[in-house]
Amino acid sequence: MSATGSRRPVPRFGHGSRVPGWDDAVDLTKPPATIPDPALTPVPPGLKETIEAAMAKYPDRRSAAIPALHAAQEVYGWCSPEAIDQVASVMELTPAYLTSVATFYDMFSTVPKPRNDVYVCTNISCSLLGADEFFEAMLAAAEGDPDVDVRSFECLGACDIAPMASVNGEYVGPLDLADAERIVEDLRTGGPVLEHKQLRYRRSADPGVAEEETDFGPPDRDETPMSDTAGLGPEGDAEDRPGPTAAIEMTTEQLADHPEPEKATDEGEHPAGQAPGDGDEGSPRATEEGR
């Protein structure tokens, strides 16, 4: 049920089964749990609506099991027996069915866990560049903090910023050992985590993306050369950086207001998808990073 290494020791069995309680004797005097009675299972209104909206999206309501468990984990912090009972009553499924789903996936926790998730990728590409050392540093930095859950995780799909971690879903990298302390600090203050190392601002590594034209139709504006937009180094003023949601916040209305965002002022110097501090594109990375 869980990642290879975790602070919370998860029982795993010699035969590789993910089923918890394999060794526990079954209490035969207890009848198996059935679908919880909605009248006896109060569900927070927000959660109920979210689950019902999710069920409406699929031809079969059971398809909403994963979205519903995500929503319940969001509310309770983990998939507690109560949370599973509530989801079961809304979805008209047995708690056993939902437990079988919740225990299969790495992102669901059937034991209490701290509020903040730090997944450190320790798979091959990251470990080649020192992820195991970073994981140890991260464990040490979060030691004693009841709000931070540090887990080693399988490949998170961001080997270009190896070694990397996902902090509450935000991808950050490449990390060095000192970043472990900073991540914990940023989580304590509640601000954006390692903003200058967030993946969402990173530009494409492919040097050809801005140069070649295809028959998409002529661009009706000047392409801003990559080198000019490469932006501030990590030491740059934080005010100049885009907000954490810049990449998704550019709505239709905003575009209508600014038909030519490329000619924007200083604030617009880091458009969505571009990394502040990524000005070293094309230059070799520090070879000893994180080692």
Binding site: F13, I66, H70, C159, S204, D206, A210, A272
Partner: protein
């Protein structure tokens, strides 16, 4: 030639107005003016093969779907979890509408009215971006009832997974999308005949579907001129590991691997040399320095005993031991095995144990033969290829680096020589936690 990565860093490309200004959704209009059969034949002419790993011709896959009035489904596999692979992440984050347009064209060709994107749960940012893009496309009439005034209707639902490598396997993905544990199914029936909710289902990778608008725009024959004869078109390559400039690069299939690794990726880190490399994610058999001049396409890599896979090159340099990498790879597959088939569940765990024996100095060179035979017994004997995905690279490492592993066995035995015999836990006798490998 950039088809997928064309000016992908353009600000606001993830929004509809910018995408439309660049000619977005014109391919969908063009496709809706053709018959579904014509669209399928364009895809067949293009020669495009699946970009998710197996390399099956996309046009033929669509043609396998039965005709007739039944509930058919299209699922976009965005559960990108293969170690070393991160191409779909960048595509979805920066150009989500290209994927949506491709899905809608493929849905029209296959006659499916319900489409899904199964995205891995860890890709929170990309899922948010896609959700916003789907809402925009729905409002503009590119998704929904009677798309652009045609007779064709299709819905699109974004489904977030929750962290399981096996859900990238197509039938495991279908079970997961149906709200179950993601266990692969017995094949046949193949998903094209009986897939999601027992209906015929077309499953394609993100990159494959995102290429569809370009194929319709250019015409299949024009697209087929790119790349080699049997590996047409452009491909996103993810380069990572011990390399100077890791990242995604769009290449024309058939260029030499050396050009990708040295020209684009910048070669190994200073003062190091490439020891071996995975050409297609951690599931592909490894290649060595001697294979660098190989042409990077489906058939040349297969001929060299490896595979294109997801075209994710992982470079391992001479500062790492083969054992260390093999153990990482084996542990990953042991962790991700769903446990349904015995050869995979047991084979992955025993491979980890055998590698750990080498590390602790308990192994003899004979163990390498046993390990190689375990790999052979996994391949082809399970419902899905997860076990094979470990057996192939591990088998290739034992084969190509046997002398190094033998030297490692000797060195570890010498190191362990002083250890008391009682300290050695016999294999198979587990402690109370009984994990197949130590828990941190």
């Amino acid at each position: 030639m950039k088809l997928l990565f064309d000016r992908i860093d353009e600000p606001g490309l993830n929004t509809l107005p910018v995408y439309e200004r660049r000619g977005g959704y014109q391919s969908l209009r063009k496709a809706l003016d053709m018959t579904p059969e014509e669209v399928t034949s364009q895809l067949m002419d293009s020669g495009i093969r699946g970009r998710g790993g197996a390399g099956f011709p996309t046009g033929r896959k669509i043609s396998f779907l039965p005709h007739g009035d039944m509930d058919k489904y299209l699922v976009c596999n965005a559960d990108e979890s293969e170690p070393g692979t991160f191409k779909d992440r960048e595509l979805m984050q920066k150009n989500p509408h290209m994927l949506i347009e491709g899905i809608m064209i493929a849905a029209y060709a296959a006659g499916t009215s319900r489409t899904f994107i199964y995205i891995r749960g860890e890709y929170a940012l990309q899922a948010d971006i896609l959700e916003a893009a789907i809402a925009e496309a729905e409002a503009a009439g590119y998704i929904g009832e009677r798309i652009l005034g045609s007779e064709h209707s299709a819905s699109l639902v974004l489904h977030r997974g929750a962290g399981a490598y096996i859900c990238g396997e197509e039938t495991g993905l279908l079970d997961s999308l149906e709200g179950k544990r993601g266990n692969p199914r017995l094949k046949p029936p193949f998903p094209a005949i009986e897939g999601l909710y027992h209906g015929p289902t077309l499953i394609n990778n993100v990159e494959t579907l995102a290429t569809v608008p370009a194929i319709i725009r250019m015409g299949g024959e024009e697209y087929a001129k790119l790349g080699t004869e049997t590996s047409t078109g452009t491909k996103l390559v993810s380069i990572s590991g011990d390399v100077q400039r890791p990242g995604n690069y769009e290449i024309e299939l058939g260029i030499p691997a050396r050009e990708i690794i040295y020209g684009l990726g910048g070669g190994p880190l200073e003062g190091r040399e490439i020891k071996f490399w995975f050409p297609g994610g951690s599931s592909s058999p490894v290649l060595t320095r001697d294979d660098l001049d190989i042409s990077f396409d489906y058939d040349s890599l297969a001929k060299a005993g490896s595979m294109l896979g997801t075209a994710s090159i992982i470079i391992v340099d001479d500062s790492h031991t083969v054992l260390e990498v093999a153990l990482k790879v084996a542990k990953f597959y042991a962790h991700e095995s769903c446990g349904k088939c015995v050869p995979c569940r047991e084979g992955t765990n025993w491979t980890v144990k055998m590698l750990q024996r080498i590390e602790s100095g308990e192994a003899t060179p004979m163990d390498l033969d046993i390990m190689a035979s375990v790999q052979e017994q996994i391949i082809g004997n399970c419902l899905c290829v997860l076990g094979d995905a470990m057996a192939m690279p591990i088998g290739s490492m034992v084969e190509k680096f046997r002398s190094e592993l033998e030297a490692e066995i000797e060195a570890a035995r010498e190191r362990a020589d002083g250890a008391e015999l009682e300290d050695v836990v016999p294999i198979g006798v587990a402690d109370e936690h009984a994990g197949p490998f130590p828990v941190h």
